[in-house]
């Protein structure tokens, strides 16, 4: 089961992040299988969303 930080610990979004895994993990609750697989794929798509947003800035 993943270790879940408290919501108030989450601050400014770091580079590459739109919805932090730590925040989403709290919403997911206990993960039955391997949490690293879920986390890795979550973060992969989260980076994509981040790059899409910043692409409109970096011209």
């Amino acid at each position: 089961m993943t270790e879940m930080p408290k919501k108030e610990e989450i601050k400014r979004l770091p580079p590459g992040v739109c919805v932090p895994w730590e925040e989403k993990a709290i919403e997911f609750g206990p993960i039955a299988g391997n949490p690293e697989i879920v986390k890795k794929e979550w973060e992969k798509l989260d980076v994509f969303a981040y790059l899409y947003l910043w692409w409109w800035v970096h011209r």
Binding site: R12, P14, L53, W56, V57, H58
Partner: protein, 391 residues
Amino acid sequence: MASEKEKVFQEKLTRYTTAMDLGKPDKVPIRLFLSEFMAKYAGFTLQEIYYDMDKNIAAVNKVLADFDLDVIFSAPSLWWASLHDAVGAKYLKFAGRHLEENRQFQYVEGEYMLPEDYDAFTADPTKWILNTYLPRIHEEFADPGSYRANVALIKGAAAFVMANGALQQAGASWAKEYGVPGAISGLVKAPFDTLGDTLRGLKGVMMDLRQRPDKVLAAMEVLVPHNLFYGLATAAGDTLLPTFLPLHRGSFPFLNPKQWDTFYWPTLKRVIEGLWAHGKRTLFYAEGNWTPYLEKIAELPPKSIVFHVDQTDMAKAKEILGGKFCLSGNVPNTLMAYGKPEEVREYCKRLIHEYAADGGFIIDNAGVMQADAKVENVVALIEAAREYGTY
């Protein structure tokens, strides 16, 4: 056993990387940022290459089949116009829709970030981009949460994937079919340019230097890790090729020396050093004149950049940066558009004679080539580079 194209690919790649590492390859590498010229050469209108990804890529195929280039930057159109239509992007106007079918795209500069946005931007730039910036620059996203806004987000993200996927596939095809490697991987911006290009605009950021300098500095401080991340992420792990750094507002004389030292250079230096700490070199594409800043640029770690000369004094660049960084440039775009082939040949001959003898030199145009460049002048440049640029 390697195919003929694989051998050619390896020869060209070695030529290019050897020069970037300050070595003396077999020949001076030819790296031309041909851009919209490729559309004209391949017989496409600018509307066709902005809107039709297949034609955008086909234009490169034609150029690679006909010209002896060592590396290729990208397709002539950097941006897919349909992606911009899907979200109603206000800041770019494209041929065939807003403009006549052979008109270069136009960037409509404005203060898309307002002075009062600084605090929200600095507090959390990613959230600010989604919550404030996109609704402001995308007509379809003006009412976030609405049907049109949601559809625009879906279409924009899908088009982003489609365009990048097509260009990646094209890059693999250019390597396999023509034996030509890419010139760059990834894109990065100077934090001041991030602020001064698409957010505050030139007028806005110049006013900010007087009226709210602390907010400018705070925003750029926040931008450093984001720009560094963007440079690495868009390179997708590659460290062989340099990341592309188009430089804008740091060109002389936009800023006075004190402003440059205070606002432009410190954060840019940290981004470049951060990339280099990850083994990622930067193509310092110094558009305009950077002569007054060469001593500062020399402070960067050896080999961490390729310094591209546009209107910077090439002799000074060689004197101050030579032996520390590879130099590239600088056949003037005006010469390519209005000169004669003999003049292009003479320019290239002198350029190679004076600046390439020790290695660490890549021949290129001064700036991004447009459709006004003459075909015979591109031929002359390449022929002269091969004739005089063999070590």
